[in-house]
């Protein structure tokens, strides 16, 4: 019964998954149905991996993933998007949903942290070595706009260090900052450690100690949905626990995420 | 009475009442802007009258009371009235056959017994266009297209067929063939044909209506209206010179007549023809003192730039219409202008129009306002009562 309610947006595959209760599964094999996870765009790599692992552990479960900027996701959930789990890239967007009554204020669990790192194109043409170097007006530095989480983090580091970055652009997402650096347009950009890890050879990361002043925390929570059946909620809870637990750590750490 | 029509459209100055009998073909003549196309559009249902009523074989086409926004106006497709315009307007995406089959195929419910394509073939045959069945409109000449359009209009089996200058857009060389076709298919059919072409009226119509300024100014059997015109407008339509006056003398039993002209002609040029006599032929006896008209073909008038000096009688000054040669009349006149029409040149004077060959016209080397002498044989002038 829970399966049918899991994803009204894509009901076709739900009945199919309900028919096969796990044969050789451990005690959690009672779980079946599907769960729709709304996750911040920066979690794309890790959550895709986590979903695969979760599905492997629970053969009756189907995980649907929806990635976008955290605030996009908030808008979508407020407008009635069928989210079961929301993983935000910051606490602010999570608060928006708890304030809106869509998530139990006690529910959010922090499952990862992230810190800023300087991203430079391969070869580091502007010779950036420290956070203070970003103040050099000759270097083209791109940051996030203060309205978005990474921008807020940048601003707080700037404030605590007193370094004023003459940014050539204040992007509205980390992706756009990273895009400017990987394409070589910018000499440096402030992004998350995890973004640099995901970008591979396209950029070089330069860690700086001041980043500790603005640790970004990733909360995850089950979305309350009026009329949603307990079966779905159970799967959602299991997924949240999975992410926040040891399995989550095993995937998140290699990607650069810190422990909460 | 098949069609009874009466409608007003004050914004176009249109006010016409008109009846057409079952099987009768009516020709509508008149100058540009006379309201001829308006009449057809009202009948076809493409225009809504401000006021009026029309009834076709018992079906009310429209019935609009004065100053009312209500009233019945039957939509075009329920009228059984087909309209054939100057341009063939064949549907470009259909073959000739499919064009003709359009009407039968579109007919709502009713008689579906006959296969539209079979019917279409019959009509194509009827207009001598069976060989064109598979052609697309862009592969047809103007005359061919118009013939298909005739077949298409007829295939919809209209109770009333409207033709708006069907030959006006055709080359002179192909018009005769279409006229023959129309003559055949219009026989015994209720139809209204608008035309500028007097030959159409003569060959196709039983009755003629002349419109001007949105009103009917004359009507009657074709012959009466056009063969012996009594007004300059009709004379113009019939392509004749018209002189009007009073019978002065007449040979008993017809034959020769002298008519004293009673109109002042060419006043602007200081030439006066009133009071002048012309001698003409008459088919029937004309009583002296009665009004008469004299018609002369422009091509029967000979023009010279010098007075016919070889004649024994001299011409009088000013308005002169004297028999200079035995059986000939000469009128002095002044050139208004010259105009090429087909392969003749029409010379217009204040009295008479004459048709010359281009060579003659060039030989005369005429200039505007020049004095000329127009001569015609009394055998070529026909007098009749008016």
């Amino acid at each position: 019964a829970g399966g049918a309610s899991g994803s009204p947006a894509d009901p076709a595959d739900a009945p199919g998954t309900a028919t096969s209760p796990g044969t050789a599964a451990p005690d959690t094999s009672t779980l079946d149905g599907s769960v729709t996870v709304f996750a911040a765009a920066s979690l794309k790599g890790t959550f895709t991996e986590l979903a695969t692992r979760f599905e492997a552990e629970h053969p009756g479960v189907d995980v649907e993933l929806n990635f976008a900027g955290s605030s996009d996701l908030v808008t979508q959930i407020t407008e009635g998007a069928p989210a079961d789990v929301f993983a935000s890239a910051d606490e602010k967007n999570m608060t928006t949903l708890t304030d809106a009554g869509l998530i139990d204020p006690a529910a959010p669990v922090d499952f990862a942290t992230n810190v800023l790192e300087i991203a430079v194109p391969p070869g580091n043409p502007a010779g950036i070595t420290s956070f203070a170097d970003l103040a050099n007006p000759a270097a083209k530095v791109v940051v996030c706009a203060p309205q978005v989480p990474c921008g807020a983090a940048t601003a707080s580091v700037e404030q605590t260090t007193g370094v004023d970055i003459p940014a050539v652009s204040e992007e509205s997402s980390v992706t756009d900052v990273l895009g400017k650096v990987t394409s070589g347009e910018a000499d440096a950009g402030l992004v998350y450690v995890t973004d640099i890890a995901a970008a591979g050879d396209a950029v070089q990361g330069i860690a700086f100690p001041e980043s500790a002043n603005a640790v970004n925390t990733y909360p995850v929570a089950v979305v309350d949905h009026a009329g949603r059946l307990d079966g779905a909620t159970a799967v959602a809870r299991a997924f949240v626990d999975f992410v926040a637990g040891a399995s989550g750590r095993a995937v998140l750490s290699p990607a650069g995420f810190g422990a909460p | 009475m098949s069609l009874q029509f009466r409608a007003r459209m004050p914004d176009r100055g249109f006010d016409v009442a008109l009846d057409v009998a079952e099987g009768e073909t009516l020709a509508v003549l008149g100058p540009n802007g006379a309201g001829k196309s308006t009449l057809l559009a009202l009948l076809a249902g493409l225009l809504r009258p401000a006021e009026g009523r029309a009834d076709l074989d018992g079906t009310v086409l429209f019935d609009v009371p004065p100053a009312s926004r209500r009233g019945t106006v039957l939509p075009p497709h329920r009228r059984g009235v087909s309209l054939l315009a100057q341009e063939a307007l064949l549907f470009p995406h259909l073959t000739a056959l499919e064009n003709v089959a359009f009407g039968p195929r579109s007919r709502r419910g009713g008689d579906r017994s006959a296969d539209p394509h079979t019917l279409a073939r019959t009509w194509l045959d009827e207009v001598d266009a069976s060989g064109l069945a598979g052609r697309r409109p862009h592969e047809l000449s103007g005359g061919q297209a118009q013939r298909i359009a005739v077949a298409r209009a007829l295939a919809s089996e209209p109770r009333l067929l409207l033709l708006d200058e069907p030959m006006a857009a055709l080359d002179a060389a192909v018009a005769p063939a279409l006229r023959r076709t129309l003559r055949r298919v219009l026989a015994g059919r209720t139809a209204i044909i608008v035309t500028h072409d007097i030959l159409d009226a003569f060959t196709l119509a039983d009755r003629v209506v002349v419109m001007d300024g949105g009103r009917i100014v004359d009507s009657g059997p074709t012959r009466t209206v056009l063969d012996r015109p009594t007004s300059p407008f009709h004379a113009g339509l019939a392509g004749l010179n018209l002189l009007v006056g009073t019978v002065a003398a007449s040979t008993p039993g017809g034959g020769e007549v002298d008519v004293e002209l009673d109109v002042e002609l060419g006043v602007e040029l200081g030439v006066e023809a009133a009071g002048t006599r012309v001698r003409a032929r008459a088919d029937a006896p004309l009583e002296p003192g009665r009004p008469a008209a004299v018609a002369i073909r422009p091509s029967h008038i000979t023009v010279t730039v010098t007075p016919p000096a070889t004649d024994t009688t001299t011409t009088t000054t000013a308005a002169t219409a004297t028999a200079t040669e035995p059986g000939h009349t000469v009128l002095e006149a002044h050139v208004l202008d010259l105009e090429q029409r087909g392969d003749v040149v029409r010379l217009r004077t204040e009295h008479l129009a004459a048709d010359l060959t281009p060579g003659e016209a060039a030989a005369l080397d005429l200039t505007e306002g020049q004095r000329v002498w127009c001569r015609f044989a009394q055998a070529d002038a026909l007098a009749y009562p008016r």
Binding site: K44, N66, A198 | D171, V174
Partner: protein
């Protein structure tokens, strides 16, 4: 008789202009890592996205035709108060930033929107479903269809329709057997442009429909997401979209040129008519 002489400098400027458009596309092609191209575009998520894009774009095109043809007809064939304003409004999605379009759609069809509550009461939830993708695409693509078609309808005029009516065809028959066949090329080219625009739709879809693999994540959204991890892969995927779009635009232009009305009137001389002409005759002007 033809006259085709353009000043030299103008041709130079035109080449600069063409380069401005063509070079970026060439630049993209050069950046593609051809070794990984095939695996990338045949990955499950890419194929899912491409399939979804094609399906939703087709559905959106169909919806554009269903809604757009009547709209174009009403705009071209009737006169009513406020017609000009309505035409401006209909063209608006053409110039609206897509994100704003998505917000507008949410404010109507979203759960808290004008109609959303009504729909909700009937248990219909549009937002974040494949239907929402189709609606978003239709919203941005509709003006292309209406624009092309209205112009063609005005060009064709009402004369053929009037003839059809006098031959006994009802308004619906006239529409089906005369009007639509006459504007078919414009309808096709409008539909193809709509399809292309729907295929490229991104902002409104993201805002209004979300980005759920297999359900709402169309190819442009996949490309956007792909940029997060692998910008070069994004470029490669874009190339797929570009190729589809080029094909589609080329087809649209082809269809536009085949219009029966553009062909003009060829007068094929015919024995039946010209046999009438005799030596004494000459053409009358």
């Amino acid at each position: 008789m033809s006259y085709r002489s353009l000043p030299r400098w103008l041709i130079v400027v035109a080449i600069v202009g063409a380069a401005f458009v063509v070079l970026p596309l060439a630049g993209m092609v050069l950046r593609v890592d051809w070794a990984n191209f095939l695996p990338l575009i045949t990955s499950e998520s890419s194929l899912d996205a491409l399939g979804l894009s094609l399906r939703t774009s087709l559905a959106a095109t169909a919806l554009c035709i269903v809604l757009g043809v009547p709209m174009a007809l009403v705009l071209a064939r009737t006169r009513f108060w406020g017609q000009k304003v309505l035409r401006s409004l209909v063209l608006l999605p053409l110039v609206l930033p897509p994100v704003v379009g998505g917000l507008a759609l949410l404010s109507t069809f979203g759960r808290r929107g004008l109609l959303g509550q009504t729909f909700d009461a009937f248990g219909i939830q549009l937002a974040f479903s494949t239907t929402a993708v189709v609606l978003a695409q239709t919203f941005v693509a509709l003006p292309f269809l209406v624009l092309s078609l209205e112009g063609a309808l005005r060009t064709v005029g009402t004369r053929y329709e009037a003839v059809g009516a006098t031959l006994g065809a009802s308004p619906s028959t006239v529409l089906r057997r005369i009007t639509l066949p006459l504007v078919l090329p414009a309808l096709l080219s409008g539909a193809v442009l709509s399809f292309a625009r729907a295929l490229g739709e991104f902002g409104a879809t993201l805002t209004f429909a979300g980005s759920l693999q297999g359900t709402t994540r169309t190819l442009p959204l996949e490309i956007y997401l792909q940029r997060e991890t692998d910008p070069d892969a994004a470029v490669a995927l874009s190339l797929v979209l570009v190729v589809v779009a080029i094909v589609v635009v080329a087809v649209a232009h082809q269809a536009g040129e085949a219009s029966p009305l553009r062909r003009g009137r060829r007068l094929v001389p015919d024995a039946q008519d010209s046999a009438d002409i005799r030596p004494v005759e000459r053409r009358q002007s």
